[in-house]
Subunit: 332 residues, 2 copies
């Protein structure tokens, strides 16, 4: 498990802008579990972070200065920048956001990478059919909260697994899932899942891995799909835990387990954002962000992800919409 | 592990034939690992065998008596019958075989269920592309020997894992695989696989499960496919062994692990048999059967599968082509 001591606060002067680039001030910063994978020196889909490198993170920001004709000071943008107050960047990786303050943090959640992950992973890998049963782990997290709701929109029975009674209430009372299970209070998770899924599991959307997934996989049905989207329960293990081998469940049920990375759908993100935006605006998909204030809280917010402290998308608010730095960061 | 004591020899009088049915004498009998799954009282793709039930098995037989216009005494047929000298059966599940004595046992191997398994699982689930690397476990078994050769025909690098030096020689010297690994003599299987697969593994065709698969899965490449066709190393465990959780490999590589059962391709078996027959006749696919003689040897031959005693398809020859019972069975 990383600690606050693994992070360092560094101040530097902002360099002058060269042509075509823009200066963005961070308003909201996303902290994401996948960053943990980049904090170790092993091959993965992205190279490891270098020591002393600024940590990468999704940002919603405000253009402060622009040497690009399409971007003007005051525009809101989102892109993968870093855990910092200001960033100088190319515009290629930025997307302009509508000037809608209420939806700005959502650009890091339901209307951003986590929403697109839920959308493409569930629909393209899972291919849910109505009346099927979808189980999602990490169900009250940034991705999970969207998965359960899209499953409902597609006519499925949706069951969420989460780590607190409050989260379970959120899933069933606010988001409309058919059942929720607090795995921390459940003695026999397999039995609880079986009760919640009387017909078995057609799609298991896995954000967590470990014993929760072990239990779910024992209940898959013929031609089930298991979407491996995250394995957050394993990211901080000092050495790999062993688990029951489950390939025989795939064999018997001719089921499929498949890894998913939203990056592979980058060419279709426009389509995903439009659909998710329309669902959000019509109220068919609800969303929540857990917001902490101050850039200096980023490490704490990040570490809190592994303790399941967030409901919905965990966001750090670094500045207000006018660019005033918030909290301790404001004094620096 | 089952023992010879779990089997019983029973003699009964053959009942008279009713209309539309035929009496088939077993010439060759197939023993198959999947039967082990039916010897336990758990849900699977087929119901468990009842106590005292005749064990089901693929048979190549000779029609002895027929009340069906399309079948005449002396015709050779194949179908899923049982571990018995004679069977009365409907014709719906039977397929007539050409009168080609040399290829009759192959109707239980390369030109039967194992061949179709290799064919459809590799081509439809694996979808190999030329220059990809295919690793197959149980490579000298009935399914594995065909998988490696089809991989070569498709232009892939083919690597086989088997349990003896003799099998490895068979794979590389007779079947033309690029490399073979005797897992019983290899201290570090992962390293041996890495040496044999310098570009990593694109398709892992799994017949065995367990530690061999654990090692292979650590070497999968981007968009790899893992075909779960058998898990023979696990079928006789008294309680499930634990293994390293491997979903993170799927996640990072956006890889897919999928269970396969040839039954799902029954509608295309004609196509598969024709292609395999053409490859066999042209010499592009070689095959081998390990044949033991005498129906009373069926339990021993079956148990030998789990010790890896067979090269290629394990067959029991029950009678000669003229119907003379062979071995001890002949005296009964």
């Amino acid at each position: 498990m990383p600690t606050a001591e693994n992070f360092r606060w560094v101040e530097e002067t902002v360099s002058p802008l060269s042509g075509g680039r823009i200066l963005v001030q961070t308003i909201y910063l996303s902290v994401d579990p996948y960053i943990r994978g980049r904090m170790r020196n092993v091959r993965s889909y992205a190279p490891p972070l270098e020591l002393d490198q600024v940590i990468e993170g999704g940002v919603v920001g405000r253009v402060v200065e622009s040497k690009h004709p399409d971007f003007r000071p005051g525009d809101f943008v989102t892109g993968r920048l870093g855990w910092q107050d200001y960033a100088i960047c190319d515009t290629a990786s930025l997307r302009k956001l509508p000037n809608n303050p209420a939806l700005l943090p959502a650009a890091l959640g339901v209307l951003g990478m986590p929403g697109l992950t839920a959308y493409f992973a569930l629909l393209e890998v899972g291919k849910p059919r109505s009346t099927e049963t979808v189980v999602v782990s990490g169900a009250a997290g940034a991705v999970g909260m969207i998965v359960g709701q899209i499953a409902k929109l597609k006519g499925c029975r949706a069951v969420g697994i989460a780590g607190s009674d409050e989260k379970v209430r959120y899933l069933t009372e606010e988001l409309g899932l058919d059942a929720g299970i607090n795995y921390r209070k459940t003695e026999n998770l397999r039995r609880a899942l079986k009760d919640a899924c009387p017909n078995g599991i057609d799609i298991y959307f896995d954000n967590v891995g470990g014993p929760i997934s072990d239990a779910a996989i024992t209940l898959i049905r013929l031609h089930a799909r298991i979407i491996i989207c995250g394995q957050i329960s394993l990211y901080n293990l000092e050495k790999p835990e062993m688990g029951p081998r489950n390939a025989a469940y795939l064999l018997v049920n001719r089921a499929r387990m498949e890894g998913f990375l939203v990056h592979d759908y980058v060419g279709r993100s426009q389509e995903g954002i439009e659909q998710l935006t329309s669902w959000v605006k019509s109220g068919q998909i609800k969303h929540r962000e857990t917001i902490v204030v101050g850039l200096e809280k980023a490490p704490e917010a990040f570490l809190g992800l592994f303790r399941g402290e967030n409901i919905g998308k965990q966001v750090v608010q670094v500045a207000d919409l006018n660019g005033k730095l918030l909290s301790a960061g404001a004094k620096k």
